[in-house]
């Protein structure tokens, strides 16, 4: 139990922020302020909350279309993320990307991608760049259980190990790819053991326990940073909501959902913090603080202007030749 209390508190606050942010997103979506495909992360907070805490500021993170949490944990401003969701000029991608496509160069958050598995070779490429430049950095690539059946997942794993690239593949196994149970889609569903096929270490961790995730990630990140090659970490977790805002998730039983909600990572850490003599008022204070941050981000987003018509053709190429 080597995680300092200050770090635990920070992770606690991050998880609260993720959850409140996502609740705010759901409200704004219901009000028609956010459109498109919007995938919530509620329930999985311990994964991004614990894993990203193991990274240095200049390590890279990259993820899927379910990445609100990952960007928040990297330190991207909630205001700019919310403005992105509202499709406004102050959005982190100027309103061009939306929920699935957050990206923040300044915080080395290398993006959210909408094509399942599409970002994995890009993650390997980040690792290759680090390797070529002899930098002291690592890549943390997040993916889902479903993505581990895509061809590019396997191609990327092979490359990563073949060239011993500094990558941590974090599989967020929430047991479903949209409506499809992992047991229906994966011939072998001990996902962490898929790493063995490439001679890569594979571990599994309780993704509903932020401390466990953090400890596991501290270990694998330092292993990867030493130049020992890539690692795969499977974090078992659960998304409480449907796959996206329009999915009522009728394919899952109430009993199953209830069981997972009992393992909620936020009260779990709260209990551990109280046992370490942190006062309840302090935890309540965090809640008030994140509520304010999210309310402020929503006000900021609503006040931000929509992109003007000239924005349509901006940012397509780095160099323009007219015509």
């Amino acid at each position: 139990m080597a995680i300092p209390l200050a770090d635990q508190l920070k992770m606690y606050k991050n998880m609260l922020l993720i959850r409140r942010f996502e609740e705010g997103v759901a409200e704004a979506y219901a009000d028609g302020l956010i459109g498109g495909f919007t995938h919530l992360y509620i329930g999985q907070e311990a994964v991004a909350g614990g894993a990203i805490a193991s990274l240095n500021h200049d390590d890279y993170a990259i993820g899927t279309y379910r990445v609100h949490a990952h960007a928040l944990c990297r330190g991207t401003s909630p205001r700019r993320l919310m403005a992105e969701l509202y499709g406004r000029t102050d959005g982190i991608c100027k309103g061009k990307g939306g929920s699935m496509h957050f990206f923040d160069n300044e915080h080395y958050f290398m993006g959210g991608y909408g094509i399942v598995g599409g970002h994995l070779p890009i993650a390997a490429g980040l690792g290759l760049g680090i390797h070529m430049r002899s930098e002291d950095r690592v890549v943390m690539a997040f993916l889902g259980d479903g993505a581990s059946n895509q061809g590019v997942f396997h191609e990327s794993m092979n490359f990563a190990k073949l060239w011993d690239l500094p990558i941590i593949f974090v599989v967020e196994n929430n047991f479903y790819g949209i409506a499809t149970d992992v047991r229906v889609s994966s011939a072998f569903n001990e996902i962490h053991r898929k790493a063995q096929g490439y001679g890569m270490p594979g571990h599994v961790v309780n993704g509903m326990d932020v401390i466990a995730v953090r400890e596991a990630c501290d270990e694998v990140v330092s292993y990867v940073r030493q130049g020992s090659g890539p690692v795969l970490l499977e974090a078992r977790c659960y998304r409480y909501q449907g796959h996206s805002m329009t999915d009522p998730a009728r394919y899952r039983s109430q009993a199953e959902a209830d069981l997972w909600r009992k393992r909620d990572p936020i009260p779990r850490l709260a209990k551990q913090l109280l046992a370490q003599d942190v006062e309840q008022e302090r935890l309540d204070g965090f809640q008030t603080e994140v509520n304010e941050i999210v309310a402020d981000s929503m006000q900021f987003a609503e006040a931000s202007p929509r992109p003007g018509p000239e924005a349509l053709y901006e940012d397509l190429y780095a160099e323009n030749y007219g015509g």
């Binding site: 499709g87 061009k96 496509h101 061809g151 889609s185 924005a311 397509l316």
Partner: protein
């Protein structure tokens, strides 16, 4: 006649063909247990069982490849891709394999397979989920491209696609799944390569399909109020293309606008305009114009998306340029 939704016409066509022919089967992501992301395969697993209605992993390249391989053995697979955007992952199997094999192997084989997928964007799905890329496949010899706009066309054309001995890409549209239309109670099939004049008119021809067909009909209504009678031609299949119906319509109206959801640059409209001017250069009263998506990745912000995508008003604006 019964009124039904576009997605139900998909289901009915598949249901009838699966009941008719044991070799027809379907697989894809979430097609079985939950009946498809857009409900288009609802009830099929219950009726035909998990052997003939199969849920798959997320692995589009393999999904199409498995369709090809099983077609080689004499099966008649229907592979569903959740959307065309994900079909891009399967491009190698579609372009390098399915489209090439019959010709490349000297006509020894048939590939009776159907790849179904909804194309198109709208509703702020952003750059990676807004592909109307039928032109890519029209540019590829060896694969049929079917792109229906109404429940009636869906049902008749999908049944033909399933009975076809060639690979067929059957492009549906996410926004159309819930639209309604009349469909006969009795069985019918619609032939490939026969365009449908969805609205007759004398002043200008609008060529449009899929979601844009409906925008074209709206545009025709608006124009009618101005005294301009637009003829709306729906090719329904882009390969084979019923060029005769198109060229004779334009020969009559002497003006033409092609309205498509895909990008304008080297789109279907470019091909049609090129062919039409070859044949009708001296009969045209105006240049052939195109209404299409702006040549940028589809942006998320609602106002930018609206600016980027074609719609009825943009068709009207173009037509007013050549008719006033």
């Amino acid at each position: 006649m019964a009124e039904m939704r576009y997605y139900q016409a998909v289901t009915q066509a598949i249901q009838e063909e699966m009941a008719r022919d044991e070799d027809v089967f379907i697989f894809g992501e979430d097609v079985g247990l939950v009946g498809g992301t857009f409900r288009a395969t609802e009830g099929l697993m219950a009726e035909f069982g998990a052997r003939r209605v199969r849920d798959t992993p997320i692995a589009e390249a393999a999904i199409v490849g498995l369709a090809i391989g099983s077609a080689l053995t004499g099966m008649r697979p229907i592979a569903e891709l959740m959307t065309m955007n994900f079909g891009i992952v399967a491009m190698d199997q579609i372009i390098n394999h399915a489209s090439k094999m019959r010709y490349m192997f000297g006509g020894q084989i048939n590939l009776p397979l159907v790849i179904r997928a909804p194309g198109g964007g709208w509703t702020q799905k952003a750059a990676q989920h807004s592909h109307a890329i039928e032109s890519w496949f029209m540019n590829t010899p060896g694969i049929r491209v079917v792109i229906p706009s109404t429940p009636y066309d869906v049902k008749g054309l999908l049944k033909t696609a399933i009975r076809s001995d060639d690979p067929v890409l059957f492009i549906e549209h996410e926004i159309l799944y819930n639209t309604k239309g009349e469909v006969p109670e009795e069985e019918y099939l619609l032939p490939f390569g026969v365009a449908d004049i969805k609205r007759p008119g004398r002043d200008v021809t609008i060529i449009a399909w899929s979601k844009m067909l409906h925008e074209a009909l709206k545009a025709a209504d608006i124009l009618a109020a101005e005294g301009i009678e637009a003829e709306v031609v729906d090719p329904r299949t882009l390969d084979p293309l019923d060029y005769n119906t198109i060229v004779s319509s334009v020969a009559r109206t002497r003006r033409c606008v092609v309205a498509e959801e895909g990008w304008r640059n080297v789109g279907v409209g470019a091909e049609l305009a090129a062919r039409l001017q070859e044949d009708l250069f001296y009969d045209l009263d105006a240049p052939i114009l195109r209404v299409a998506s702006a040549d940028v990745p589809t942006p998320y912000a609602a106002n930018l998306e609206k600016q980027a995508l074609p719609n009825a008003q943009k068709i009207v604006d173009q037509i007013l340029k050549i008719t006033l």
